[in-house]
C-alpha cells in the first residue's frame, strides 16, 4: 500500500542487521512480467529477506487495451467480442455477463431455450476455466502431470464449444437477446451429456487421487495464504476465493440471473478440512467441487432444453438501449463479473465500467502475501486464479 514496507515479526527497513556491524538490506525482486508463476504478464515487485517476503507490490497494465474506451466507440453488439478477451479462459461467462447487463438495461426478455443454452455453455466454460486453475495451480506446486490431464479434458470442452459457436477459444457467441446460433443438430447435446458424465464420475476422482489429496500437495497448500472471511470481504474478493474463505455466497444463487434458479445444485464453500478456512487448499478444492456442480447444472439444463426460438430479436446490427444506468453482476468462473453500463439512449454505451473479479481478488496479495515465503507467495497467487486479460482489460 504505502511506500514503507510492512513490518514482519517486528522487523522492517533498517532493522535487518543479522550480524552486528554488517549492514544488510532487503532484496528487491521483480517477479514478472515474464515469470512462469504469474499466469500472464503480471509483475509483482517483491521486497524479500532471504525467502521471506516483506512487501508485495503488484504492477499492472501490461495487457491494458482500455476496452472501456472502446465500448464508447462501438455499438452494443460489436462489443461482445471484447468481452471474450477479458477472461480468455472462460469467455462464455464474460459474454453472459455483458449480454445480461445490456438486456437488463433494454428490458429485453430472452427466450427460454436461449437461456438454457447460455447456462450450459457458460458452465462448460467455467469447467474449462477451473480445469486451467487446477492445472496451473498444480504446476505452481511442481506437479506437471495434472496439467496435462486437465488440458486433455479442456480440449474436449473446446471441441464441444467449437461445434456450437465456431470458435475454439474466443466465441463471440452470445448477443443481446439470445445466442448467435442454435444448438447444432449433430448430436451435440448427447455428446455434452456424455462428457459431463465422464468428467464427474471418472476424471474428477482421477485429479483428486493424483493431486488434491496428495500429501506433499496438502503440505504445500494447507495453512498457506490464509484469507479469512473478513479480509476477503474487505478486499472485495469474490467467487471461489470468497467461498474458499467460508462465505456462502454465489451470484448464481443469491443474485439470480438467467435460469439458474430452476436447477438443483449446491454452493461449495471451504471448510478448512486440511488446515484453516481460507487457505490455498480450500480455494483449490472449492474449484474442484464446483466442476462437479457445474456438471450437474449442465446436465439439468440440457436434459430440459425447451423448444422454441434461440433469439429474441432478428439479428439487427444495431441495438438501441434506452437511457439509464444499471450495475449487473454475474458469477464468472473467477468471481463476480460486473458491468456498470450507462446509456444515453444512443447506439453506444456512454460509459461501461467493468468490475472484473481478478482485479479485486489480486489486490489481496498486498496484504496476505506479506510475511510469506516466496514459494508460498507463488501458491497464493496460483490459488487466486487470476487472468491478466481481465485485470488489465
Amino acid at each position: 500500500m504505502a511506500n514503507e514496507p510492512t513490518m514482519v515479526n517486528g522487523r522492517g527497513w533498517g532493522d535487518q542487521d543479522h550480524v552486528p556491524g554488517i549492514k544488510s538490506e532487503l532484496l528487491e525482486l521483480n517477479m514478472g512480467p515474464q515469470h512462469p508463476a504469474t499466469h500472464g504478464v503480471l509483475r509483482l515487485l517483491l521486497h524479500t529477506d532471504g525467502e521471506i517476503v516483506y512487501k508485495v507490490t503488484p504492477v499492472l497494465g501490461y495487457l491494458h487495451r482500455c476496452a472501456e474506451k472502446i465500448a464508447e466507440g462501438v455499438n452494443y453488439k460489436q462489443w461482445v467480442v471484447y468481452t471474450d478477451r477479458f477472461d480468455y479462459l472462460a469467455p462464455m461467462c464474460c459474454n453472459h455477463a455483458y449480454v445480461t447487463a445490456v438486456e437488463k438495461l433494454m428490458g429485453q426478455a430472452v427466450p427460454e431455450r436461449a437461456e438454457h443454452i447460455r447456462v450450459a455453455t457458460s458452465e462448460l466454460s467455467r469447467i474449462a476455466s477451473h480445469l486451467i486453475a487446477l492445472a496451473t495451480f498444480g504446476l505452481d506446486m511442481g506437479a506437471w502431470t495434472p496439467l496435462l490431464y486437465c488440458f486433455r479434458e479442456r480440449e474436449e470442452i473446446l471441441n464441444l464449444l467449437e461445434r456450437i459457436s465456431g470458435g475454439r477459444m474466443l466465441y463471440n457467441y452470445m448477443i443481446p437477446g439470445g445466442v448467435r446460433y442454435d444448438v447444432p443438430n449433430d448430436n451435440w447435446v448427447a455428446d455434452v451429456l456424455d462428457f459431463v458424465d465422464l468428467m464427474e464420475h471418472n476424471k474428477l476422482p482421477e485429479y483428486n487421487t493424483l493431486l488434491s489429496y496428495n500429501k506433499i500437495f496438502i503440505e504445500r497448500t494447507a495453512d498457506v495464504g490464509i484469507i479469512d472471511a473478513k479480509t476477503a470481504l474487505d478486499y472485495g474478493c469474490t467467487g471461489p476465493v470468497l467461498r474458499g474463505s467460508g462465505v456462502d455466497f454465489d451470484c448464481r444463487r443469491d443474485d439470480p440471473y438467467s435460469v439458474y434458479h430452476k436447477f438443483d445444485w449446491q454452493v461449495q464453500i471451504g471448510h478448512g478440512e486440511k488446515g484453516t478456512v481460507g487457505d490455498c487448499w480450500d480455494r483449490y478444492i472449492v474449484r474442484a467441487r464446483e466442476i462437479e456442480q457445474s456438471c450437474r447444472i449442465i446436465r439439468q439444463a440440457l436434459q430440459t432444453l425447451p423448444d422454441g426460438p434461440y433469439q429474441a430479436l432478428a439479428l439487427k446490427a444495431i441495438v438501441k438501449v434506452p437511457a439509464g444506468a444499471a450495475y449487473t453482476r454475474v458469477e464468472s468462473s473467477k468471481g463476480e463479473l460486473g458491468h456498470y453500463i450507462i446509456s444515453d439512449g444512443g447506439q453506444t454505451a456512454f460509459r461501461n465500467k467493468v468490475r472484473s473479479p481478478s482485479f479485486c481478488n489480486l489486490q489481496v496479495v498486498e496484504k496476505v502475501g506479506v510475511g510469506q515465503m516466496v514459494s508460498d507467495l507463488v501458491a497464493l497467487v496460483g490459488s487466486l486464479d487470476i487472468v491478466l486479460g481481465e485485470i488489465d482489460r
Partner: protein
C-alpha cells in the same frame, strides 16, 4: 431492506449532505454531497441495520455530453477518414465528473448505489479506501483513466497506464497523443497496406523477399 428505507436512514444520518434519491425500476440511486461521501459510506458500512460489508464496484464517470443524447462519444475514436488519417475533434469538455459506488451487504442481502458529482476543475473526491480496502485499486484506476483525485488516498499512482503517461484516456475530450517516449501511437487503419506499394501489386509489398538460409 427497501432502497428508499435505506435512503431515509442515510439522509437522517447525513442531514443536508444527502442530495436526493432517484427512484427508477432499473437501479435507484442516491446522490450525496461530495465532501460527505466518506461519512456516508462509513455510516452505510457500520450501521447494523444496513451492514454494507462489500464494495462491489466503484466507477468513475465523465458526464460530459450525457444530456445531448447520442453525442457523448469519446472524441478520439471517431474513426478514420477516407485517406486513412484518424479523425480528430477540438471539442473541449465542460461537463462534470462523477463517481458511483455500488454497495452490497452479504449479511442482509441488499444493495445500494451512491453517486457523487464533482466539477471538472476540482475533480477531487474523498477516498474511501480506509473503509473498504478494495476501493484503493478502484480509486487508482479512476485516477488513472479519468483523472479523479482521491483526497487522502495512501498510494495515488497510476494503475494501468504508464507512470509518465499524459492525460486520462476515459475523459470524453481525451485525444491520444501521437508520440509517447518516441513511440508512435496513432497507427494506420489496419486494412491498409502499411508498406509502400512499388512493385509486385497490392498484396506483395516491396522489400518483402523470402528469408534466405
Amino acid at each position: 431492506m427497501e432502497q428508499n428505507a435505506i435512503y431515509e436512514l442515510l439522509a437522517g444520518a447525513l442531514g443536508d449532505g444527502a442530495l436526493g434519491f432517484t427512484e427508477n425500476p432499473l437501479e435507484p440511486w442516491a446522490a450525496v454531497e461530495t465532501a460527505k461521501v466518506a461519512e456516508a459510506c462509513r455510516f452505510l458500512r457500520d450501521d447494523p441495520r444496513l451492514d454494507f460489508d462489500q464494495l462491489m464496484c466503484l466507477s468513475g464517470i465523465d458526464w460530459d455530453g450525457f444530456d445531448e443524447a447520442g453525442k457523448g462519444k469519446s472524441v478520439s475514436i471517431l474513426g478514420y477518414s477516407d485517406d486513412g488519417q484518424p479523425e480528430k475533434s477540438d471539442r473541449v469538455a465542460t461537463g462534470d465528473l462523477g463517481v458511483a459506488y455500488h454497495l452490497y451487504s452479504h449479511a442482509l442481502r441488499h444493495k445500494f448505489t451512491l453517486r457523487v458529482r464533482v466539477t471538472r476543475e476540482s475533480a477531487t473526491v474523498p477516498t474511501i479506501s480506509g473503509l473498504w480496502s478494495t476501493a484503493a485499486w478502484h480509486e487508482r484506476e479512476a485516477w488513472d483513466l479519468l483523472g479523479l483525485k482521491f483526497a487522502g488516498h495512501p498510494d495515488p499512482r497510476r494503475m494501468l497506464m504508464e507512470e509518465d503517461w499524459v492525460g486520462h484516456p476515459l475523459r470524453k475530450d481525451y485525444v491520444m497523443p501521437d508520440l509517447w517516449n518516441g513511440v508512435p501511437l496513432q497507427g494506420q487503419p489496419y486494412c491498409a497496406n502499411p508498406f509502400p506499394v512499388e512493385s509486385g501489386g497490392p498484396d506483395k509489398p516491396a522489400g518483402d523477399k523470402p528469408a534466405e538460409g
